[in-house]
């Protein structure tokens, strides 16, 4: 490890330790007063121990381990014992202060430090903004705000804003490398202590991670990796005997999606010893009927405080604290942690929601819309030529207002001919993507809203197009001026209404077919090709909402047909219900105006 990296790791450890010490002292006071909080103390000590080991403070890790042992058997009513523990705890805390760095080290650090910290640069930018604003105000008051000055000021503001944006970005995000730093060292130390041979592979699909995630995730990774080395992987001899490579492999993968971040820690070891887990639970009389538990429920038991399948406690694992600390971290961020059994070895999936992400995106134009496609979901881009592929906007049920024909194909799997066409590829950009709220009918491929320039674009994960779960599976094709494009089905039990609508539509050049209720309408739909349905709500046999529900059924060939509800029952609830079932528009008969009605019909086509 490079000296500068070691230095930054140590600072990070002291920073983390300072944050946990306060909690440790508070938990200790609670424990002394009430006897509660021992679990919290053990978790905090365990986390600190792992972090200390990771930055190479093996002596400190050993001392914390001993303290952990003493706390595990501590009794809060033993006053002398508690005094002794307090003394040991404070001694340990004093050793976790950064003053262990010598004066020479401090001088060396000062020399290595950049001339301006990020915070100083931010403050300098803000100060420049204030100065610029002052100049501008005084120029305006004295009448000196000439066009030339306006242009210069605008340019100065623009360039300073860019600086501010850059610094804020650096402050908000770190690199996956910051998360992985030191892990190799940790694995090496733990593996050596356990007499195992291990190779660690770390990968990430994101360029940046939110900085606030990094220290917490590092703590979780320390536990997960220690756990994998100690419990998951076999010794080289055992691996050889099982026909495996004597060197075990642990893989850490960070998967960033638009709304969540996932840490995957996999190993190719022996997996979980289910018999040992069952024996442990049976012996502890947990009140759980093992045979009634699902496989996942059994695996979840591993995350309970105090669960360990190890017979011995070592400095690195075996107390049953690590995985429960990981679970606590995931839950604190509103996420979850799951243990997955695999054919060979096991995998832990640690997922937390994320407020936004920075992703490489290919900006494209399609159907008059600008969209940001996650670059990682595109295999390659090429000219469309004579190939016939669906357009991206039609697959996503987005409107198509572009007169331009598609020119490019974005392949998600060229071998299987999976791809979509777009009109224009604008360029590759690193964009912030904000997740969308849960919405009914939103195609799964639409994963967020990206932020670029003056506008915002939908962010699309093309790899999810095949599994797109749109409520309306097929898309609306480009506007055609064929006979079919003018076919409208009018459904109403009132002959007067039907006559009026048919008259209005026919005069406007539409071909109209009539039906008296929902049942008849379904039959008419199967007989011809329509581009729009205009339907009443209250009808005998099958009302408009029942008819709409049948039409929108995923198995129906008419699921994507535009539907206009035209009703005299124009209360809010009816309209809401219709929209919920997939109506495109609801129109009150009382508000009927011929011109407006025809505009609406044209719009829906």
């Amino acid at each position: 490890m490079k000296a500068s990296q070691e230095q930054s790791l140590e600072s990070l450890f002291f920073e983390e330790a300072a944050g946990r010490v306060q909690n440790l002292l508070e938990s200790f006071e609670t424990f002394r007063a009430t006897g509660e909080g021992k679990d919290a103390i053990l978790r905090l000590l365990h986390t600190l121990k792992g972090s200390a080991g990771m930055v190479g403070f093996q002596d400190e890790a050993q001392k914390i381990h001993l303290l952990e042992e003493r706390f595990a058997s501590a009794d809060h009513t033993d006053l002398d014992g508690m005094k002794e523990l307090e003394r040991a705890l404070k001694e340990m805390i004093s050793e976790l202060q950064p003053d262990r760095v010598s004066a020479e080290d401090v001088t060396a650090m000062a020399v290595r430090k950049a001339p301006f910290s990020l915070a100083q640069r931010l403050l300098a930018s803000v100060s420049k903004f204030e100065t610029l604003l002052d100049h501008w105000r005084s120029a305006r008051q004295t009448g000196a705000a000439t066009k030339d000055l306006r242009i210069k000021t605008e340019m100065a503001f623009g360039s300073e804003l860019e600086e501010l944006r850059k610094h804020s970005f650096r402050l908000a995000f770190g690199h996956p490398g910051d998360l992985f730093a030191g892990l190799e060292e940790l694995v090496r130390v733990v593996a050596a202590a356990e007499r195992k041979s291990v190779r660690l592979q770390c990968r990430a699909n994101a360029n940046y991670l939110l900085r606030e995630f990094i220290p917490e995730f590092r703590s979780a990774l320390v536990h997960l990796l220690s756990n994998s080395v100690v419990h998951g992987l076999e010794t080289p001899e055992q691996r050889k005997a099982a026909g495996k490579d004597p060197v075990g492999v642990i893989e850490v993968m960070v998967e960033a999606e638009s709304n969540r971040l996932t840490l995957l820690v996999s190993d190719d070891g022996r997996g979980v010893d289910l018999k040992a887990l069952e024996a442990r639970y049976s012996s502890e009389a947990q009140g759980l009927d093992w045979s009634q538990l699902s496989d996942q429920e059994r695996m979840n038991l591993l995350f309970q405080q105090g669960t360990t399948l190890s017979r011995n406690t070592s400095v690195h694992a075996g107390r049953g604290v690590g995985l429960s600390a990981v679970k606590e971290t995931a839950e604190r961020f509103g996420g979850e942690v799951v243990f997955e059994r695999r054919e060979r070895g096991s995998r832990i999936r640690f997922t937390v929601p994320s407020p936004f992400f920075v992703m490489d995106c290919l900006l494209v134009e399609c159907g008059g819309n600008r969209l940001a496609c996650l670059a990682g979901s595109i295999e390659r881009v090429e000219e469309l030529g004579e190939k016939e592929l669906p357009s991206l906007c039609s697959v996503l049920n987005l409107g198509d207002n572009s007169p331009d024909p598609p020119r490019f194909v974005l392949w998600t799997d060229a071998h299987r001919k999976n791809g979509v066409s777009v009109e224009k590829c604008v360029g590759l950009k690193e964009l912030v993507v904000y997740p969308l709220p849960q919405l009914e009918g939103l195609p799964e491929a639409v994963v967020g809203l990206s932020d670029f320039g003056q506008g915002r674009q939908l962010a699309v994960d093309l790899s999810r197009l095949r599994e797109a779960g749109s409520k309306r599976p097929s898309s609306r094709p480009r506007k055609e001026r064929s006979e079919v494009a003018r076919n409208v089905l009018v459904v109403d039990d009132s002959e007067t209404t039907r006559t009026i609508l048919v008259d209005v539509l026919r005069r406007a050049g539409f071909h109209v077919v009539e039906a008296q209720d929902g049942l008849e309408a379904l039959e008419r739909l199967d007989e011809g090709k329509f581009k729009l349905v205009v339907s009443d709500l209250e009808m005998p046999n099958m009302n408009g909402l029942e008819f709409l529900e049948k039409m929108r059924d995923a198995s129906s060939p008419h699921a994507s047909l535009p539907f206009l509800l035209f009703t005299s029952r124009d209360d809010t609830r009816s309209f809401q219900k219709a929209y919920l079932l997939g109506a495109d528009r609801c129109l009150s008969k009382a508000a009927f105006q011929e011109a407006d009605f025809l505009d609406l019909v044209e719009e829906l086509l």
Partner: protein, 147 residues
């Protein structure tokens, strides 16, 4: 002395009358369409934004209402619901987005919006979707949308 007391009482009554007069008026966030106006309880919204909404795929609904687009505001993405689509009226020439406090969406209205005080005693019942009452051409919008 008596005159002083009477004068003080008169001032008190006058003040009370004024207060009552003020309290009897309620403020509405009003959006103007060419032939009618729509007012909403201002406390429903945190802000009104002039911004461009990203498009939304057809068939997407938010609590049963058709979603017309998406806007971003202070760390969150809000689906937008178009008032003109809900009522089947002309779309606004200059759309603005009133971001709701707790309902989780932004309402697309005709901009610019204004705050106007109205006398609730003048309200009349109305039979129109998403509207509860009206005063002349000013309709009181009803956003009670929890199906």
């Amino acid at each position: 002395m008596l005159e002083d007391i009477l004068e003080a009482r008169a001032r008190e009554f006058a003040g009370r009358g004024l207060r009552e007069k003020n309290e009897s008026k309620t403020a509405l966030l009003v959006s103007d369409w060419p032939e009618e106006e729509f007012g909403f309880e201002p406390s429903l919204f945190s802000t009104v934004l002039e911004t461009e909404a990203a498009p939304c795929p057809a068939g997407v609904t938010f609590k049963g209402l058709p979603c017309s687009g998406f806007i971003y505001h202070q760390g969150f993405v809000y689906p937008t619901v178009s008032w003109s689509v809900l009522l089947g009226i002309d779309p606004p020439e200059v759309p603005v987005y009133a971001v709701t406090y707790h309902l989780g969406f932004a309402l697309e209205l005709a901009g610019p919006c204004r705050i106007e005080k109205v006398d609730p005693k003048a309200y009349k019942d109305v039979d129109r979707p998403f509207c509860s009452r009206r005063i002349g051409n000013l309709y009181l919008g009803n956003l009670d949308i929890s199906p």
